[in-house]
Structure formats: structure tokens, C-alpha cells
Subunit: 317 residues, 2 copies
């Protein structure tokens, strides 16, 4: 997606082709308690590339002492061997992170800035107010766009905050407009602790698409209470055509304690393919990558398709 | 629900009140590898009664040597202490089972007959052709109605068969009409091995409601590939107002091997309540019953709400 091309958000009934960004290598790995060896990360990301993803979130430029698991980000970016048409995304937490990222500017195509829609969550997450963060965004956004990188945004706690409760839709969409003004061409809405429901998802994405013409509106759901795919289906019905998910159901925010986080990419792809929605992905290869992650991490992952596989519509012998 | 009262299937946009039948004590317990002690079953069913269920599937009149886990059905029916307005449902596999059930006719209010929509699944399940089964249904249905019991039906593999693949919608709805002709006032459609998707769910339930005026149309989904709640949401959107689910995500058909089966009642209730859909249930009490089942069975259950609890919308301290 170039920065200047408007994203074709769809309305119900139109032909359905969706974009899925795989976020497991950053948002997923980040939450693993055991350190994953750099060569393992590289091998798994290359497997994702072979599954057909055109967008993968690969690394974060957070301080290594804050998230040691991701301290090998540049090594990972250097080691992976993805097809030329795959966009590598990196997460930028602040100006220092942006400095470090731009020092290796040729290793990625997409840079993501983020904020939490709720004041308390933003403060607890990055120790700054929402207003301070958005002031930084305006400055960092300009630098990212000037480098001819794609500027993406993520708004966390878009559907509710574990500390503040309800988060007004208008507040979230106002922040989205600020990101768009800063040069973002894609804006993702994160259900950080799984508080969304399908009725709200539908209403939210209808409103977001209307308020953000030409912007790629991305749904990032968690499966905290088992409703992740229901929310994704509702967003699709609302016209959303861009999704983020994590292979193996890795990572995301485990709140309340012990909860699962991100929706599993292979479950999302399975649902979309069964509905006739084109993802451009090879489901069997996605499942294979997730199983490889399970084997590498040495623990049973919670994705359903890892166990059940794709639906088989031919008669079994 | 009396036999003669038409069920108010709804169309989109109307006020939403749903019925949820808890099927864990039969469909759930049936799949447990370890024998559950009769007093434990009774204690768990009584807990479900306190959670507000008005319909509970309690027992099956299958041969004890076929499903030993359910051989204490009559003892369970005698031991439970449910409020007077709770309908106790029993599953009737054949005429012999019906004889045995009618010998204790005062212990239940609803009797369920079933068939698989696909020939191969029906043969493997009960060793009879679909036609033979439906001939039995006509005879058994009359006997059940004559006893002033509510006759319910379940059509397994309504959304796909693991042996035959696709199952035509018309074939399923023809069988539903045969059940209605036999006196059934409620007809459930089972996604036995989790092959449905939300787009098909929506189309199917729109068609079923149109084809079966006055009949209560019930959705029975499995979470085999994580899409169970998405399918339930789509059925709700199509006008379906009657659902079956299992507390703790217990039971259902583990095909492919190792898969999860029934959707978890507490996850379904959580989704409905968040959407403003009235279930008449106390979600905290449903979760409590599921946690008690987890503790009694001594293994980690797969329900999400057991871990995450309900969404909390008030600010946390």
C-alpha cells in the first residue's frame, strides 16, 4: 500500500478481499516468558513469508531493558529472507526508538505509532498522557513520512479500558483523525483486553469507515472472552477489510491474568476462506507455521485450527 | 413452551430475548473419560438451576453399555432439585429408550429425538438409515405427544458431514419439516463437527425460520475451529432466538481428534449480555457452575470466561 493510495474500505455485499497483517513475531513473541533464540525467530518469520503474508510486524524499537525478548530486533530484520513484496513493519514507541529505527531505515517499509485511547492505560503503558503522546506523534509522523515509509497507527483500548471502563467512540475516532493528520494511511483499532462485542464492533467500524475516508481501517481483536472471531465477522459486515492477528494465538495482552490475547491468524483465515473471503494466504502453510511455533516454544498453543485443521469438504475415505 | 404455542422467531432489529438450553449434563458429561459420580452430577445440575436456566438437558435413555457415563440417568433425574419452572430434557435414541423413559414419565418435560442429516453419519452413529430413523420418529413422536410431553428434535451434521462433506440445506430443512409433522415444536440444528461459518449460519437460519413458521428454531454450534460464537451471532442476526450450549465448553463431538466441541454457555451468555440481548441468566452464577465443573472433573476446561470472567465496565480501583 503506498502512502497516497486510498484504501478501498467496502460496504456490505461487495466482493470481499481482505488484508491480514501477521503480528505474531512482535506482538506475539513479546509475551513469551522464555527467550526465543534469534535463529528460531528468523525461521518462523520466513515460514510466514512462505504462507503468503504481504505484511508482517517483525520488530519493535522499544528499549531492550523494557522488553528483552525483542532486543534482537535489528538482527532479526537483517536475518529474515522475505519475498520482495512483503512489507516489514516495526513498532516505534518514542523519538529515541524512531532514531534507532531510522538508523536502519532500509530494513523495513512500515512504521507504527501508538497510543491508548484511555488516559489511565496510556499512562500505565508508556508513562505519558494521551495529549503528550499525540504531540510526539505529530513530530514523529512527519519524520516517518519524510523517509517515504508507510505510517501506520494503532489505538489501544479502543473498545474499552480495564481501568476506566467505557471509552467513548468519538474520543477514539478523534484520535484517529489526529493520526491521519499526522500522515498515517492506516489506523488500527485494538481491543486490548477483549472488551468488544459483535454489535459494538459493527457499529464502530461503520462509523470509523465513514469518519476516515481514504484511510485503511484495521481491526485488531483479542479472544479474551472467546468473541474474537465474532467481532471480526461483525467488522467485516461493517465494511472493514483489514485485520491483524497472531499465528498460534500468540501474545496480546493477558488481562485479566491468564487470559488469551490476540485472535489466532489460522482461525481467522479459516473463517474467512469458508465464507468465500479472499485472504491471499495458504491456510495449510499458516497452520504449519503455527505448529512450528508450538514446537519451538514447547508449550500447547490455544489456536483451534492447530488441532482441528481446515474444514475438509471432500468425502473422507 | 407449550406444544401448541408458536415460537416467536424474530427478525433483525426487534427486541432481543433468547432462550438458552444448557446441554452440559448430557452432551457434555457424555464425553468425559472418567466416570462422574452421581452426587457430583446432581450438585452441578442444581447449580445450573440456580443460575436461571429454564431448560436443561439432563439425561439420555441410551443403552448403559453404549454410554456407561449416562447409565445413572434415572437416578440423576430423581436426585436433582430444580425450580418448578425448569424443563428437564431427556434424549431418546430409539423405541426401547422411549419405553424406558415413559416408565418414569413424570421425571421430565421435554423429549428429544434426533437424526443425522447425512446418511453416513447417521449409519455410523445409530446403525440405521436416515429413512428408517425418520419412520421411527413418526411413531415415537406420536407416543411422546400423546403423553403431553414437549417433543424436540435435533438434526446432526446440519452444516456439513465429516464423511460426506457438504449437506444440502434443502435436505436438512426437509427433515425438519418431517419432524414438525411428527409433532416437534422445537427443532435444533447441530454443527456436529464444527463445519459451519457465519455467512452460512446467517443464510441457513433465515431460510429455516421462513420454512418452519411457528416452530422454535434452535442453533447448536460447536467451537471446533473457534467460530462458534461468530456462528451464534450470525444466527441471532438471522432472527434465531433459541440456542444450546454447554457450561465449561464441555463435550460435543471431538472430531477431528482432540478438537473442542460445544460452545461454552458462559462465553455465549457473556457475548449476548454485552450486546444487550436478554438471556434471563445470571452470568456470574453460570461461570461459578463451570468453575465447579472444572474442579470436579479435575482438568482445565477450555471456556474463556472461566479464566477472564465477565467484562467489567466500572473503573477498577
Amino acid at each position: 500500500m503506498s502512502q497516497t493510495q486510498a484504501f478501498p474500505n467496502a460496504t456490505r455485499g461487495e466482493t470481499r478481499t481482505v488484508q491480514i497483517r501477521e503480528v505474531g513475531p512482535r506482538d506475539g513473541f513479546q509475551n513469551e516468558p522464555e527467550t526465543i533464540a534469534t535463529p528460531d525467530k528468523i525461521r518462523l518469520i520466513d515460514a510466514l513469508g512462505r504462507a503468503g503474508f504481504k505484511r508482517i510486524e517483525v520488530a519493535s524499537f522499544v528499549r531492550p531493558d523494557v522488553i528483552p525478548q525483542l532486543s534482537d530486533g535489528i538482527e532479526v530484520l537483517r536475518g529474515i529472507d522475505l519475498p520482495d513484496d512483503v512489507d516489514r513493519m516495526v513498532l516505534i514507541p518514542n523519538s529515541r526508538g524512531l532514531d534507532n529505527a531510522l538508523a536502519v531505515r532500509d530494513l523495513f517499509e512500515e512504521a507504527t505509532l501508538f497510543v491508548s485511547a484511555s488516559q489511565t492505560h496510556n499512562t500505565k503503558n508508556i508513562n505519558r498522557s494521551v495529549e503528550e503522546t499525540m504531540a510526539d506523534v505529530a513530530v514523529m509522523g512527519k519524520r516517518i513520512v519524510a523517509e517515504d515509509l508507510t505510517l501506520c497507527a494503532v489505538i489501544a483500548t479502543s473498545f474499552g479500558c480495564p481501568y476506566e471502563g467505557p471509552v467513548p467512540m468519538d474520543r477514539v475516532l478523534d484520535l484517529a483523525e489526529q493520526f491521519a493528520a499526522a500522515g498515517a494511511t492506516e489506523i488500527g483499532f485494538g481491543d486490548t483486553t477483549g472488551m468488544c462485542n459483535p454489535a459494538y464492533s459493527r457499529a464502530f467500524f461503520e462509523a470509523a469507515i465513514e469518519r476516515l475516508p481514504g484511510i485503511e481501517v484495521t481491526a485488531h481483536f483479542h479472544n479474551t472472552r472467546g468473541q474474537g472471531l465474532a467481532n471480526a465477522y461483525a467488522a467485516l459486515e461493517a465494511g472493514c477489510r483489514s485485520f491483524e492477528s497472531s499465528f498460534g494465538e500468540l501474545g496480546g495482552c493477558p488481562v485479566p491474568k491468564g487470559s488469551t490475547g490476540n485472535i489466532a491468524t489460522e482461525d481467522l483465515v479459516s473463517m474467512f476462506h469458508e465464507m468465500g473471503v479472499d485472504t491471499g494466504l495458504d491456510l495449510a502453510a499458516v497452520i504449519e507455521a503455527a505448529r512450528e511455533a508450538q514446537s519451538t516454544l514447547g508449550r500447547k498453543l490455544t489456536s483451534h485450527s492447530i488441532v482441528a485443521g481446515p474444514v475438509t469438504w471432500y468425502p473422507a475415505s
